[in-house]
Symmetry: C2
Subunit: 268 residues, 2 copies
Amino acid sequence: MQERSLPIGVFDSGMGGISVLKALTQAMPGEDFIYLGDTARLPYGTKSPQTVVRYSLQCAAALASRGIRCLVVACNTASTPALPALRAQYVDFPIVGVIQPGAQAAVAISRSLHIAVIGTEVTISGGAYQAAILSLNSRARVSALACPLFVALAEEGLTTGPIAEALAHRYLDPIFQVDSPPDTLVLGCTHFPVLKEAILAALPKGVNIVDSAVTTAAAVKALLHPTISLTRGRVTWLATDNPARFARVGSTFLGEPLSPDAIELVDL
Amino acid sequence: MQERSLPIGVFDSGMGGISVLKALTQAMPGEDFIYLGDTARLPYGTKSPQTVVRYSLQCAAALASRGIRCLVVACNTASTPALPALRAQYVDFPIVGVIQPGAQAAVAISRSLHIAVIGTEVTISGGAYQAAILSLNSRARVSALACPLFVALAEEGLTTGPIAEALAHRYLDPIFQVDSPPDTLVLGCTHFPVLKEAILAALPKGVNIVDSAVTTAAAVKALLHPTISLTRGRVTWLATDNPARFARVGSTFLGEPLSPDAIELVDL
């Protein structure tokens, strides 16, 4: 009988990273996972880079103390400033963010190399997607836009219908209703995959969508030798506050019910 | 020459309380104020009551240490659970929340005594407005509704136009497009006054709007003997994170420009 591997640790400022966890469990169904949502201090997207780095180190410490074989920073806002500090601190397991896999997928799929990226204010103003895409191909052109209201829509579960579509048009028309628009759009926030339908409705036909949750899961799978198991792995849920809201909003991102009783409250 | 009074301390989880500060400066232009926005930990509206009480005590301590003559909890979310703890801790100056003045104004103006209240999730589920209104008149009937997306709209400055109005209809129609709707609506969140135009557009004619910022300022003025001065008082600005965003979003609520350089960063 094979000894079970340590779980894969995943953290986010809140519940959006559950879209990454969902993609990870679909890519590697035999693995165990620990997911930590720092719900006491969400959102990271409006906080300064220094604060986001400090919080990320605390999240990583909580997961590392339980033993993990890989750390996934399932948060575009935290991936931007925190990866260097995390990698300096932890050398015993690989650390994967969501920026690089999304940038690689976008450069691979785009024909015109004109790529749009949407995310939170910190992700976009931090410029990490723009830098990652340009370092992969210096001829690329990036149109980047912060869409903070998409986060609020996703958390309220208002993911389809006229309000979501009107907001998608308001954000995306200035980028796509022009001459020579981008041919690829990176969903650079883990909240955005659940809005994919409304976003697609606002886009011109033929634009590629890169879902950073799916591309991150593929990158983690390529890095590890996933556990082969006939049984589905377990997910351990941790949150720093408000398990009831974590469960309610989290089930939107997980796509299946999540019970507040399954969530362990931790203090960082 | 009269000795200057100590300033009036005002705190909120972020910038929304600036709508209360604006009403206070209009009601008492000769007074000095210190405003603290706990921007490192906003929003309070999605956090547990225990966490909100802890944060509120830390905000009050920061203001009290500088010397204040009155403390205004300019945050509906914090007023709900934190006032008893704050009043137990500080007996040297009066402490005013935003719930009681709004409830009093609503009961005074409503003819049918059917009153609607909108606010954040914690404000509404905490039931403080409902309890305050019923304690003033036990025959009153309260229709309460959480409108968290209004907060995100206000912070993005998307306060008028079709998206704001569509969202107002989505939230308010189930309460007002019925037989015997409420005749009074309490804006039970400091973010909502800037959305007043969109909210009015979604309401049946003749509904009274109670703005908790204005009613709170009137309550503070009635409690103090405001400084009479030919010169306008000063406002000292404190924030726990991200002065640039504080200034940008805050100017929406203040209704005039606010410079990031005017904001002192403090650590609680």
